[in-house]
């Protein structure tokens, strides 16, 4: 057994020597993963599990507990407890991943090292960056990240989500909830509109004369016909959507006075959920893999950064083509990347990349809808090859089954990500 191990290690070393200089005394190729969300946690766990000890896998994540942004709208609507969104990293550690509870502060692509906020330095042979999103400064005039305590974004799950829920619960009778919807591209295309549905559900229960105003810079949005039908059916007269033709794209906010300016016209609001324009999490730019759009272009077949063959970028932060920014997409991309990295570092088989996504949304109790597509790599981008969407006018039994399926999916994907 000892002889066999020695043989395997030297074979791996010979393989990697073609593309990667070895760190002195190191016995296994090192993969460092930044970000313990749907992309990063999945790739770390799959790498450790499938490489069966042949790789040294480290996951850098500042939080001991991860709260999923997916399904956080259901918490806002009163369908789930906040703690049901919480996931820990014990099973990932048990799979053989070294956990580093710290923040990645910098990347040196030439030296192949990650610097931690706590001061440590981690060398890597391959780096996976899966940091999710950050917000574009100045995207909504009048709003900065500091104003999120007054006008929450609640678009990274955690205290922001709880703050928004508390604000909705404290709204005066007949008050006004305003959402400033984000420009494309952003995390979870149907997310803002599922949130509107969940807020409407909650207000219908506890504050039925309250109103919801959605200010949107986009002419169209995902599942639009389904949401419009659902709002009419369940929350008639409560939701007003203002698109760019009516000033939804010329919005300024005043957190100090709780006012919103729509094409110059002042509107007093009670709660204001500002979801700003988005870009890749800052560490992607620090690693030099983003372009002028703020996202990181990747090779569609592997998720390898176009700018650096030693770095892979997953999930929301990547610019890959047609896949929406979703946990399902990140999880799907992570499995392709894990396979590609193993092939590079251990010589395992490289199979053709396959990607898929499905997004479920809840409109009202037991009224669930979904949209999905399958994707394949082309030389230029990950391209969509087939899609489907729930239809308007579906019967209650189908909508209930779709909702129950979404609960099954949440259990399934969180088990797949976190073990």
């Amino acid at each position: 057994m000892l002889n066999r191990r020695i043989f395997i290690h030297s074979a791996v070393a010979a393989t990697a020597a073609l593309s990667a200089p070895r760190v002195l005394g190191q016995t296994k190729p090192r993969v460092v993963v930044i970000g313990g969300g749907a992309g990063g946690a999945t790739v770390a766990r799959y790498l450790a599990k499938d490489a069966a000890g042949a790789l040294d896998v480290t996951l850098i994540e500042p939080n001991a507990t991860y709260y999923t942004c997916f399904f956080s709208n259901l918490y806002l609507g009163g369908f789930r407890e906040f703690e049901s969104l919480a996931h820990g990293y014990d099973a990932i550690a048990a799979a053989g991943v070294t956990l580093v509870q710290d923040m990645a502060a910098g990347v040196d692509p030439a030296a192949r090292t990650v610097t931690l906020a706590g001061g440590g330095v981690l060398p890597y042979d391959r780096l996976v960056i899966s940091p999710g999103i950050d917000f574009v400064e100045g995207s909504v005039p009048g709003w900065t990240l500091a104003d999120a305590e007054v006008m929450p974004h609640a678009y990274k799950a955690g205290p922001q989500t709880q703050l928004l829920k508390a604000q909705i619960e404290a709204m005066p009778e007949g008050g006004l909830f305003c959402m400033v919807a984000p420009p494309n591209p952003y995390r979870c295309p149907p997310g803002p509109y599922e949130r509107v549905s969940m807020v409407a559900h909650m207000l219908t229960q506890m504050n039925p004369t309250a109103k919801i105003l959605v200010l949107d810079p986009k002419e169209k949005y995902s599942k639009q016909a389904l949401f419009e039908e659902g709002w009419q059916k369940h929350y008639s007269g409560m939701v007003e959507w203002i698109g760019p033709d009516m000033g939804g794209n010329v919005v300024e906010v005043r957190p100090g006075s709780m006012e919103v300016l729509i094409d110059g016209e002042v509107q007093k609001v009670d709660v204001c959920n500002v979801i700003p324009g988005q870009m890749a999490g800052a560490i992607a730019a620090a690693a030099g893999v983003t372009d002028a759009t703020g996202w990181a272009p990747v090779d569609p077949a592997t998720m390898q950064a176009r700018a650096d063959a030693n770095i892979y970028v997953l999930g929301d932060a990547s610019a890959q083509g047609d896949m929406p920014k979703s946990a399902f997409s990140a999880n799907s991309q992570a499995k392709v990347a894990a396979m590609a990295i193993r092939a590079e570092l251990t010589g395992s088989k490289l199979f053709p990349a396959k990607y898929s996504n499905t997004c479920w949304s809840l409109i009202a109790p037991e009224d669930g809808v979904k949209v999905g597509a399958s994707y394949e790599p082309t030389p230029e981008k990950i391209a969509s090859v087939e899609s489907f969407i729930s239809q308007t006018g579906e019967d209650a039994a189908l909508r209930k089954a779709t909702y129950e399926e979404s609960l099954g999916w949440y259990e399934g994907i969180t088990a797949d990500i976190f073990g």
Binding site: A301, L350, S384, G412, D416
Partner: protein, 238 residues
Amino acid sequence: MGGAGRLLAPFALLAAAVCTPAAANLIGDADRGATLFQRQCSACHRIGPDAVNRVGPQLNGLYGRRAGAVPEFPYSKSMARMGSDGLTWTLETLDAYVENPKALVSGTRMAYKGLKDDGPRADLLAFLRDYSDRPRDIPEAEPTARKTLPDLAPEILAIEGDAEYGAYLSSECSTCHQRDGTDRGIPSITEWPAEDFVIAMHAYKEKLRPHPVMQMMAGRLSNEEIAALAAYFATLEE
């Protein structure tokens, strides 16, 4: 597309079994389509920012649009009726319409004989696709590529079913179906007998079984891939 090349090069020396990743094909070449549009369509149609109706309707957002749906454009009765009957512009319907307009919409006012040549027609459709929704932003948007069943090297995929390939493919299943056999909202597929598994996948592939997610998932699995998955699930049973 340097990436795959970079990735594969060192391993070609070591592992003969490495295959070329299968790639879908984008609808056509949008740049060539732009030239074609300029020559054959732009006398009547406008596309792009600020495009307005001319002799023909403006063509932004064409994919996924109901036929005869541009406001204030005076369509033929025939086109308006096709729209109210449910004709929506997709890759397939546009392909048919551009190939032979009167075959699809007999009374169309579009005075265009049609573009019989598959290649240029695909280029034109790719150009038009660029001015419609991006699937990244609206996941239900029409596809941007035609799917291909993977062309796998035989040494990678014995027709018997390659369990290692099946293990990779199964990672797509486990996003929803839990490996521990939990059966809430989404059925368990753990310890599903291989033969039943193969039959069920083919039934989804042929759209005999009704679930849209599974029709999509199975629809792009080749016979060999279904065999590989079955082989993998069979090893799980041991």
